[in-house]
């Protein structure tokens, strides 16, 4: 279904509302985009092209924002880890008060319910953290709110990749753990996919700021 209002909303995240409206008008008028699939492919490709241009046309500020974004992501990952540990500690404390026993001792033998709770907490905190990073980046990039999210994700993928390539894939931490295993986990593909998934949360945070800016300027 060709939902023109939704298409306009998507495009207004990366260009002015007037241009977004005119672009959607063109797509509605053009017989080439008569089908819903072609229409949405054109909208999404146009949005991504405009977003990419925003980033590529301003390499220096985008590079600075990407470094800042990766720094924030690292910082918030420590905070998130600490919050998850706190969830485990509180959960184990409450659990041991209700049902005392050795099962509440820290380790993989903890009750499945607590392990699940910790995993969900980690996931939720991670989402909130990414969303906030997206908001912070957007506030520092007026009129190009979403572009630094792309730059940050590219840098977040490139840094570990560079470390692994430069170290020949064999470099280890003083503890003996392979650097590439620590950075990527068991699979590079999965790691990159998780970065791409995180990008959508970053973009959601930036989109919220963009919408707020647009509603204030009206």
């Amino acid at each position: 279904m060709r939902n023109a209002r939704l298409a306009e909303w998507v495009l207004s995240l990366v260009t002015t509302p007037e241009r977004a409206s005119a672009t959607v008008g063109d797509l509605l008028e053009d017989p080439l985009h008569a089908g819903a699939l072609r229409f949405w492919a054109a909208v999404l490709f146009a949005a991504f092209s405009l977003l990419w241009r925003d980033m590529a046309a301003n390499p220096k500020p985008m590079a600075k924002l990407a470094v800042y974004g990766v720094f924030l992501q690292l910082l918030l990952s420590f905070v998130t880890s600490a919050a998850v540990v706190l969830v485990y500690i509180v959960g184990a404390f409450v659990g041991s008060a209700i049902d005392p026993g050795p099962q509440w001792k820290w380790g993989p033998g903890m009750p499945l319910g607590l392990l699940t709770l910790g995993a969900i907490a980690g996931w939720a905190f991670g989402l909130v953290a990414q969303f906030q990073v997206g908001r912070v980046l957007a506030k520092r990039s007026p009129d190009r709110e979403l572009a630094p999210c792309i730059a940050t994700t590219l840098l977040a993928i490139a840094i570990p990749l560079l470390i692994v390539v430069l170290s020949g894939g064999r470099a280890t931490f003083p503890t003996g753990q392979l650097i590439h295993e620590a950075l990527y986990g068991p699979s590079i593909v999965l790691s990159v996919l998780s970065q791409v998934a995180a990008l959508f949360v970053l973009l959601a945070g930036a989109a919220r700021v963009r919408r707020q800016q647009l509603s204030m300027s009206r």
Partner: protein
């Protein structure tokens, strides 16, 4: 001068020529149609609009919004016009091509 010419890409020249050809009727749909008719290539919406925005930022085209029309769901058309700077940049780019082509015979291509 060389910097200006090299800054004008091949597709940018195609878009500028299409706008010039259309005169007062140059907006997204007609520009894409003229390019498709004359060059047998169909630019995607993303490619076309990013190029138009870039040309406008360079000051080579100017755009203005028309009146909203019912057949477009009440959405206005964004009309484009090549500026004097755009015409000059296009002329320089075409002259550069011409100088490169002078006296050159492309194998398998008939020459006038």
């Amino acid at each position: 001068m060389a910097g200006t010419v090299s800054a004008l890409g091949e597709f940018e020249q195609v878009v500028l020529l299409a706008i010039l050809r259309l005169g007062d009727e140059a907006y997204g749909v007609t520009v894409r149609e003229v390019i498709a008719d004359r060059t047998q290539r169909r630019p995607t919406a993303g490619h076309l609009y990013t190029t138009l925005d870039r040309l406008e930022e360079k000051g080579l085209v100017a755009s203005k919004f028309g009146d909203p029309t019912p057949q477009r769901g009440g959405r206005a058309k964004r009309y484009f016009k090549v500026t004097a700077k755009g015409v000059a940049a296009l002329a320089r780019a075409q002259q550069s091509y011409q100088r490169l082509m002078d006296g050159l015979k492309l194998p398998g291509v008939a020459h006038a």
